[in-house]
Symmetry: D2
Subunit: 411 residues, 4 copies
């Protein structure tokens, strides 16, 4: 790992300063693929609820790399050997792990690139970069794919207690101002160790782990799945779907070349040739927002109305319940709205719809968080807690929502 | 409520500025009974583990009063009428609620003023002040004693979600640096309302309440009941007990007049005449620490050794388990230590002892935290959570500890 | 001032919670003119240096309104009467004071809307809103224009110690992580008073005022005029100028309708008819960034190159000196670059240019910050300091810069 | 430098976690000389103004050591070689630099140990420890005494930009809540380098250095020399002086053995034998406060009154001016007070006195802060600033105060 000739530091409101650990990391940070992440918001439309939430995926990637540096330091101090090559591999893997995110990723995955996961695209980007950088990313890629022999390295990049989560929970809590969602990342990292090639947490860290799981649960329900944010995300999905539908029907809509490509073509992960990847690398939040600004004055009532709602924050109403909404209720409301807006019932479905929200605070199925007892025994945190029912937390919570236009009689 | 002729503000690292709301509150703050709280540490010997934990009961009282001001503002904005007299009563009640704390309160309650609760003494102080201030504290006292007709006022002062807890959890988390124990006091307050004369939390505040309960649990096990802190507290108990024992045996020990009084007399709550109260009002942390500094060079080995341990932070070893330690084990260790130190077995019990730690994260028995649903229904938070098993959290967790001198063979 | 039927709060990472003070303020916040500020970054391209600096003008406006609420509270507690109408006027004036900002405002003012100040446009927006809201903004407008009889109200909105500066310095320091640039806004506000209808600071606040002036100076040189940020801003200016030049030459470039309008027409403040204002209200950061993404693949080498530099953060080199760069040096470098890029010298001027940076930490000419001594005398802070030479700080500091492409021989 | 077998971390509210760098450092931290610093408040009686200011000298020492670790990291990354022995020397020197502080140090130096500097005593303690630890502190002592050949090491421990100041300014600002006094210690450290064996700051750090000097100035006048704090400190001086006077007159007063020793003997630095050092090592804040609690009921009116004032925060009035108070005025007031209290004029001087406060924000005489320009030239920061008149700041500011009892006619 070749260090930089002079100390390079980046200001971070959360950690103070982030140091760039190597020449290669610096070169990757300067690459346009990475710079693009400056134009992709970490939290999509959440700023509609939390006006401070404008931080980017680039900033999160830097933060996660900072935590990885701390983790390497801690593990080495506990005599876990990590070679210089592995160290750099960890930094690169975490730095680039979100490269595959598109704008409003979750919305896109339900509209124009259905079923294409951002992890898959991240890997494609890394492979392209590995080619450009003559194989220097090979270790990082092995770690990222969990093909590297030492398995705990992958867990630091991707697991239930990885540097990704430790940064984004802290960062999102910080920028939204939801201070009770904070996570003491540095303490959790200080408690890490490696046993049998697997990441473990020292026993006395159990309350911190509990707190981490509960904080994550709070962040989901209070922030990521906040009802107003859900409406906004669903509206983005529908904007993109409607646009795609109109293209399919032969209507031409203004859009950036990159967005046009994805609206006009059905792209699955298999279609991601080098050329498609290059087009994808041009996509960012601006393409979506700008398109909506064109489309809000389009003749198509549905498209125009959806865009106006988002741009002017004049959203649909949303109801949330623990039981599903009856099809009948949704149907009735659609008829009502169809009449009101003078559109077809099919079109009214863009404004009246139901769905579900789901979150699992902790998964006992994979990547469990394990504690190591003083006697060396390893135990799933869900089995170790003296009281907090983490097992209960491993059941999914499901809520049901229904959206419909305001200023109508309530349903 | 007569406001001050000019704005008086006090710097607080947590809230920024605290404003003094009335002339009477200002006068009470200037009283020597209140000023004494500057010399009583909020967290006793916890600074032995968390070097930042030197904040005082005075500072906590100011913080709790600040939160009370916020609570009054929020409730009024929700059209809950609170008269000016009630308002001042709330401020005074919360400001003075901890007046009865002695130095290292919990330790004292198990040694020299056994069975005397600080709340009882707080009330005595308030009554004395009421006398001095010609009845102006009557409303505050009624609220404090829960004799005021509007019951939610008492809940703001004392309950499972009172301004006391909301400040001390936040403050202790801040000063110890255990950032994950933080509580979003202002958000919780913003969610408060009053229904049927009882304090309730708006339904959407449920995750904040959950987080509050879990944060409190974490603070207990990680901070208040931290094993090193437990040792220190147990040592203070034993220092005071030994001193009392020596006095009973006719040995004279140097100590401040106030401390002498309590070491020489068995004082119960009923004994708290005006005179005793006045003596109590002279006691603070300095009396205990200074006495230990005299006693560390005393001829009595036990007393001297205990004091040295505390002053030089050369504490006993502690083991913690979920099962009680057998009497036999404790007995054996005592014999060992008696031989080592050449003291009697009875004396060895000052250095070898077992006990239990107990915490209940949430009580379903009294002062439950109640949510109000949108339809107006009121429900215990333990019944309302979609997943977090708060009921499980209402069971007490008990741990057992055993302490003994270092540098011996482990037990 | 009609308050909202229920408490509405907005999370803010800096102040905790911001409360919406009135129905009218809420309605203005929901207006699309205000919502547009979500899409205008407070600090333009500064995020290229400080990755946390993505906060928006909307967020700043809310923060400034929060501080105004504090100021009203403080002044009233000091017996400065402020009527309910004046209060609401203050909130509206500060909330809307930045409505006229376009995307990358400073860059725009030097390229496509030369000489049009954002304050002028803010006023036009307020007037349009006043029309829509049937005269309810009249007091706010009078205050904003400094036509309201009580002059200190205007000073709270616009002056050397106004709520605008108190928020943006604190906010920009917070989001960039330049913690030493922080300003204790709440303390400064607590020191405010009104004498002879003018805002004054209590004498004991002098060190806070000094600190405020120095913090502002630091923020200018370390953040707002950071050399990398300067390059980025100058590049935006040149991108827009080049685009305008190409349009003038008959070349058609893709751009959003709103941006097209301003590129094709020379718009001065006098041209801001209702129609132009409406078009302006469609402009935001996305228009500029999206246009650059089209233009980076344009045939025009200059335009394409400039856009690539910005999008991929592959900027020009910049030198800064206290003396101007000689015209000769700039000329020579232009010739060199013209050859290198095979462009005309005139075109090379897009990549090789010099300029100056200027900042005045404190102005003694207008809106001076005045202290009130205990004896009631009023004195300019620059005359009052016992040592800090604020007068020296009132001289403008000028630095000179020169930009040119990297990878060339140094000049 | 032998590292600890397992990672030891200490929570710090400011830096997060402090890591203990070596076995020897850990042993020194456990020594009773160091543990005593837990009982010495960093800011003396400042908590009378800033209720949060109860942090200790121990905590500051840990913080300064943390910053030293950062400084070593930064300098090494800039290829400044620092051997393992030097590194440990730095940590020990900074950890122990304040060991010689007594309780209310500044007050003591003007009463019972006149003219004995705490640095001198710190050195004695280090030498005693060096003896106990068999010479392992020799490098630390050489650095501390500035006898180590590489001079920049001493500058890190003691200079105008040393780790001591960088920690205490930040820490005192944090605990008092005077947020505008904050210093970006980590940024300043990141700007450090070594040229010609002397510490320098990179040119671009100039605004941070300016800000540091101004923040220090603000902390002096707003915090350390806050008028109420000054009164408290002057009262402590007088309490100790009076006690000494009474002892000299043959009056016996209760006091701890250590305090008794210093009250009864005139101790100069030369008198600090091993035995005296051991006695000194027993002195802490509790000795002073406890003595005052005895003395407040003493028959001597002066002593009793002074103690009551401090304990009950019922202080003298203080006036501050830029010109000295006339002897006549002081004299007149003394006569008035002598009559009022029925004491002699000489005794009245304990309650009526004048004095001066002095602070120099920056010294150009010694340990100047030097910048290194890009061309390698070194220049005093006072000469380098483009505008801020640091030279002006190097002149001492002097203010004059006069104290006298409240409730009298004003002077």
């Amino acid at each position: 790992m070749k260090t930089l000739p002079k100390l390079k530091i980046i200001n971070d409101p959360i950690y103070g300063f982030i140091t760039i650990p190597s020449v290669l990391v610096f070169q990757l940070m300067e690459h346009k693929y990475f710079q693009r992440l400056r134009r992709i918001s970490q939290m999509g439309f959440s700023y509609i609820v939390y006006p401070g939430a404008h931080h980017t995926r680039l900033h999160h990637a830097l933060g996660a790399m900072f935590l990885m540096q701390k983790a390497v330091q801690v593990l080495r101090s506990k005599k876990v050997p990590i070679s210089s090559k592995e160290e750099e591999g960890l930094y690169i893997a975490i730095l680039l792990h979100d490269l595959g995110h598109g704008p409003f990723s979750h919305a896109m995955e339900h509209s124009i690139v259905e079923g294409v996961s951002h992890e898959g695209i991240s890997l494609l980007f890394m492979q392209a970069l590995n080619h450009q950088f003559k194989g220097q990313l090979s270790t990082a890629i092995e770690i990222f794919k969990n093909e590297y022999p030492r398995k705990f390295l992958h867990q630091l990049v991707s697991g239930q207690l990885d540097m990704d989560r430790l940064d984004y929970l802290k960062r999102d809590s910080f920028y939204t101002g939801v201070s009770e969602g904070t996570v003491n990342s540095q303490r959790l990292i200080a408690m890490l160790n490696v046993k049998n090639d697997a990441l473990v947490v020292e026993e006395k860290g159990i309350y911190s782990v509990e707190n981490f799981i509960i904080a994550r649960r709070l962040m989901y329900w209070q922030v990521y799945l906040h009802k107003t944010g859900v409406v906004a995300e669903q509206l983005v999905v529908r904007v993109l779907k409607r646009a795609k539908q109109l293209f399919a029907a032969g209507v031409e809509l203004p859009a950036s070349p990159a967005l046009l490509f994805f609206l006009k073509n059905d792209i699955k992960l298999n279609d991601f040739s080098e050329k498609v990847l290059e087009i994808f690398s041009k996509l960012d939040d601006n393409d979506i927002i700008s398109a909506m600004k064109y489309w809000e004055i389009n003749d198509d009532f549905v498209l125009s109305k959806l865009c106006k709602m988002l741009l002017n924050r004049d959203l649909l109403k949303i109801k949330i319940k623990s039981k599903p909404f009856s099809e009948k209720k949704v149907e009735e409301k659609r008829i009502e709205v169809a009449e009101l807006y003078r559109i077809s019932e099919e079109e009214a479905a863009y404004f009246v719809f139901s769905g579900k929200l789901e979150n699992q605070a902790y998964s006992m199925q994979k990547d469990t968080i394990n504690l190591v007892r003083k006697n060396g025994k390893i135990v799933d945190v869900a089995k170790a807690s003296d009281q907090l029912n983490i097992e209960a937390l491993s059941k999914s919570v499901i809520k049901y929502y229904m959206c419909y236009p305001k200023n109508n009689t309530d349903c």
